[in-house]
């Protein structure tokens, strides 16, 4: 697949490396001119291309949002229509109760199939993925399967937790956030909350 990783901070280059390792074609976009992140991409995710967000998204089969939440509103929404988009973002600082980002992402990126995942894993715990269970929440079964298949490719064990609104189960404040939970614990917690 062609993967677009938006974000060249803590998380973006790690996911790019995992995707490259699994044989995917990867483009990374930071904010603004790609020349600003060329050096970073060259050393931290060699083999990935540094592009503008618009160019990276245009070609992609799968887009991963790994940018700070407060930057999300600066994304141009038009390019995302018809794309499968992974929301790996969190409110920061955490809000007092789990508060979904994904419904806001879906509302803004009209026409995209948004799937919440990976936001509950710290970047230092992602590489190697080592079969770690990750929750996946989305409204489109097709998009959820695309994301789950990608996550399996890069070494995770994807566990469906329900529709996009259930992505709140993965947010800061949830017992699943930042915990090395196994598949069984995801399933049990999801069942208790539904």
């Amino acid at each position: 697949m062609k993967i677009a990783v938006l974000g060249a901070g803590h998380v973006g280059p790690v996911l790019a490396r995992l995707a490259l390792g699994a044989g995917h074609e990867v483009a990374i976009a930071g904010s603004g001119d790609p020349s600003r992140i060329e050096m970073i991409v060259g050393f931290l995710a060699p083999g990935a291309k540094a592009l503008t967000a618009a160019d990276a998204v245009a070609d992609a089969d799968l887009v991963v949002l790994a940018i700070p939440w407060h930057r999300f509103s600066s994304l141009e929404p038009g390019a995302f229509a018809g794309k499968v988009v992974v929301d790996a973002m969190n409110h920061w600082p955490p809000s007092a109760e789990p508060l979904g980002t994904s419904e806001q992402v879906a509302a803004r990126l009209a026409g995209a199939d948004v799937v919440k995942s990976l936001n509950h894993v710290a970047y230092q715990d992602m590489e190697p993925a080592a079969g770690r269970a990750v929750g996946v929440a989305g409204d489109s079964p097709g998009a959820v399967e695309v994301v789950a298949s990608f996550l399996r490719d890069i070494g995770f064990d994807p566990v469906p937790v329900g529709p996009l609104a259930a992505g709140r189960l993965l947010e800061p404040g949830s017992p699943l956030f930042g915990v090395a939970a196994r598949r069984q614990e995801f399933e049990t917690h999801t069942k208790e909350q539904s």
Partner: protein, 339 residues
């Protein structure tokens, strides 16, 4: 030149019965810890700014000044100074004063802050996290050049041909980086030294950061600068003793922090991994810690290692023992291994 230091966040210590000591006593004990670090021949003692009841070291430079008055060789600095929520002019003045008092022994490690308690305290918005650090680092770099400063930005009043006192010799300036590649490039763009804060996971994964930093320094036309490592640890006569002493406090502190920061709550298995050869905890006997330090320094091409000792709940005596073993046993052994 290879140098070795100790960092602390000034966690509240407990007495022998497990009762927390007062903030005031914890701070006074910290001065004794800094003095011991000097006596055992260490190169650097750093205090990390925090603003919580568990870590009350909100005015680290005052404590550093007290240590300066009782020591003669050790360099004294922050680990880190949260520049984003401070005024670069004030920070420069305080560290220039420390540099004067200590006869040129001040160092500063600037950071964006991974614990962000200072943002609401001083009225800053976390949404400005990046811009604040970028602008303030720029002003700080201008101040370090000495001479009148002209500067304009969005985060504080502009300066025009401003003489900022006290005048002092330039002191080493580092940028502390937790995992943001942009921060590595930023450090290189100013020609500042790079301090890699490695607090979890395989330290070896930071090797591309060292390569990126060296390449970027060259690209920006700066001379090579030191790369340092800051990692948590605890030293005791045996591996078993060190691991057993550290574990309950690590579980307590990291378990609470992880809930908000997204890193996993420790388990006995994850702890065994972190203290083992592929983890980020330098916990063990002097030989175990020395071997791991030497390996990590070689892998990351680092010439400085700062062990972040002490975690909430340990006793002052236990911290003094770690400092003594680190200075007298660990560091000489690492020097041997690196030769």
């Amino acid at each position: 030149m290879t140098t070795f230091g100790l960092d602390t966040f000034g966690d509240v210590t407990h007495d022998a019965s497990g009762t927390p000591l007062s903030h005031a006593q914890t701070i006074r004990d910290l001065v004794d810890q800094g003095v011991l670090a000097d006596q055992v021949g260490l190169d650097f003692f750093g205090i990390g700014e925090h603003h919580t009841a568990d870590m009350p070291l909100s005015a680290a430079d005052v404590v550093l000044a007290a240590i300066a008055a009782r020591t003669s060789s050790i360099h004294l600095g922050s680990a880190v100074t949260v520049l984003s929520s401070d005024d670069p002019v004030r920070v420069f003045q305080r560290f220039s004063t420390l540099n004067a008092l200590s006869d040129g022994r001040a160092e500063i490690i600037l950071g964006r802050g991974s614990s962000v308690d200072s943002f609401p305290l001083f009225g800053y918005d976390l949404a400005d996290y990046e811009d604040l650090f970028e602008e303030k680092t720029h002003l700080f770099a201008e101040l370090l050049k000495g001479g009148p400063v002209t500067w304009q930005g969005k985060t504080r009043a502009a300066l025009h041909e401003q003489d900022v006192v006290p005048h002092t010799e330039p002191f080493p300036t580092w940028i502390g980086v937790g995992g943001s590649p942009q921060s590595v490039v930023r450090a290189a763009s100013y020609g500042f030294s790079l301090m890699l804060a490695i607090i979890g996971g395989h330290p070896g994964r930071f090797a591309p950061f060292s390569e990126l930093y060296k390449h970027a320094l060259e690209k920006f036309g700066h001379e090579p600068q030191p790369i340092g490592i800051h990692s948590p640890g605890h030293v005791a006569p045996t591996d078993e003793q060190a691991r057993e002493e550290f574990w309950p406090h690590y579980l307590d502190v990291i378990g609470r922090l992880g809930k908000t920061r997204g890193f996993a709550t420790p388990t006995p298995e994850s702890y065994a991994h972190e203290v083992g050869p592929h983890g980020a905890l330098f916990v063990g006997s002097p030989e175990t810690v020395a071997q791991k330090m030497a390996r990590t320094m070689k892998k990351l091409d680092a010439s400085r290692f700062d062990l972040k000792y002490g975690i909430g709940g340990l006793s002052h005596d236990s911290l003094l023992r770690t400092i003594e073993l680190y200075g007298t046993r660990v560091v000489p052994r690492v020097r041997e291994l690196l030769d």
